[in-house]
Amino acid sequence: MSEKQLASTAEASAHQKEWFAQLRREVFERHQPYAIVQADMPFELFQVMGVPTVSNQWWAALVSAKRLAPRCFDELNARGFHDGLCHYCSLPLACTFAGDSVAAPWGGLPKPALISARLTCDCIQRVFEIWAQQLGTEFISIENPGAAELPPRWWELSRNQWEQLFEARRLDLTVNQFRVLIRALEGITGRRFELSALVSLMERVNRQEEYFDEARHWICAAPKTPVRITEQITNVMAAQWLRGTDWAVEHAKKFRDEIRTRVESGIAACPQEKLRLMWVGAGLWHDTDFYTSFESRYGAVFVWSMYLAFGPDGYIRYGLSDPLRALASRIVSMNEQLHNPPWANEWIVDQAQKHRIDGAIVLIPSGTRSAGSGIRFVEMGLEKVNIPVMTLVADVVDSRSWDGQAMRKRVEKFIEERLC
């Protein structure tokens, strides 16, 4: 595992671990409710209601990083689920199936009061329904209306013109479904939902994302990147899963400050940086050392992944007179923004140019087919602005088909042939 260069990275990791231990104590000892939710859910509603949330994708990444995925998927396959099904969103379900036969991270997930997901791809409703049955808990779904209007440069409109950008009909439906979710949370907690509390939280989320925006600007402006993407991801995601909490806002600020200090002091993550790489796709959770493998020989540093950049561009919402609607606008198009044309390719090309990217490694997620769309348009868009692209087929959580050495060789060849 590569060295941690930022103090905030160690703090983020320690905080996550302590937060989860606290969650387990609260659930087991005080019978407090918590929820498991998909990453594109409105965490803010749970936050306001005092219901801690575990992100399905975060848990999948943890299970994967502990190299437990192969055993979990063996268990899934043994139950009759074929091996061509999506892995990223189903690894925690597979881990539940595996039960005590694997030592789940940090003691494992206690039974949640509910699980919840947006119905993006056609399999997520199935994964969550099966999981709810297995856990003996309730599944609340939120329908995912399609976008019919997709104007250019969404990231320039999403902060202030979100009502127009995300289409009123889609926001109406999403808000109506939020109300159902809120009623369920009120039932679970015995507390009343307060709109004013949501406004305050949304304001704090804005502040948090503004710090991340500033951090991104510092990274862009620095002659050499001050922070590797692995550390960006640890810091950003630890805060995003708890977005709007005092800790998350404070941590985002600390992260921004540390980046700024490093830039002002001329500290680079990789002093011999010569080539700036971009990683397009979800993180390669079972082999995060991959991202630093090209530094010593080529000075090739991964500068960008979606995790930091999407916070400010995807989450900030100004004009909170109708906070539920603003929140709906935050989540309703994540699928289009990250995985589908025209929004994903346009945004990634813009980010590549702003970050002075020399070459992009674009993930084709073999274990998450639905998230594998839009890649050809990303490739073509980047190549069109003279940023060479290499595609790489990998399962982000399951290492069974991953040949790390061969993949590193392929990237080296790409660097030598197209970037040097």
């Binding site: 061509g84 056609d122 329908e143 019919a148 589908n340 025209p342 050809r376």
Partner: protein
Amino acid sequence: MAPTANDAIARLVFFYQNPMSDALAASETGMPLVGVTSNTVPWEMIAAAGMYPVVLRSEDGPTPVADEFMEPHVFHPRIRSIFNQIVSGRWPLKAVIIPRTSEQEYKLFLYLREIARQYPDKALPPTYLYDLPHSRSEESREYGLKVTFAFKEQLEAISGTSIALDDIARTITESNAARSTVRSLIALRCETPRINGSLALSLIGPFWSIPRKQYAELAQEAAAKLRLLPPLCAPRILVKGVSTDDVTLHNILESFGAVVVSEDDWWGERSAGKDISTAGDPIAACFAKYYSDSPSPRTFPGVVADSWFEERSRAGIEGVVFYLPDEDYVFGWDYPRHKNFVDSLGIPSLVIRDDPRRMKTSERSRMQNWVEHLPKAPQS
């Protein structure tokens, strides 16, 4: 190309094998063609707008245009083929309407929009999303109804004419007549089958590609003739899994001595469903039909999605084939549950993962062996 035979059965089979033939002939007379991609776009409303709705079928063969823009392993062969047809300008379509019936189709919509944006010289027909949700909730129902009323306005904009409610009522009546004849054909497959599954698919298929009035006439005539056939004494099979607009799987199973009597698929037994209500607002009636009585991989919760399959499994079959080819990443989640269900009824089942058009000999042998060991169908 037009069918030469006068026989209704031969004409329907011709239209199944040449799904665009009638549409192209109509187009030559000035009828605007509207391509749709699956079963949940209200045919009745498009027809009421004076346009010719036709469901686009997959074509076997290379898809070079799709290969350029669509990632391997993400899109199903049928979606790739449709993309290829539309972008290569294969058909003179005035518009393409894509329902939110599967994630694949939604992505197809976004891809076509992007091609139109980036490559205006390709002159794609305008593409519209009919954003019908399939989860069962009061909020989804309300949304779907609004979307369906907005769909009428969209069709008026496409056709340049206003749509009278009476016209929709008229096309509903036409469509219901066609649904009724589909049900007559399906009756010839149930309990005591008189036609095999390959023929049944070929006869039902044109429901999606020719005008419903014409279809009703042909199917009625075909059903009257087929009713006279002797019963088929063979193990009765239900096919479940990935939707297929191709008869190859049926052909293979039937070549081993089985008869496919049903498929949980809108290309087959689930094509027509129930009639559309003729009472009340015809737009609301169309919505109710397509929301509540049209199969979709997005139907949720599972208990609703499973109900048809469970009911049909109890209605007299000797085996279930779960068709889960390489492109499947959805129905495989249902498989263990469905297998448990048919196991509980004592019905044997078989999983097919190969594409039947490129099936290995060993896989064919496995199928043959399975069919040969199925219980015999009861004598009528």
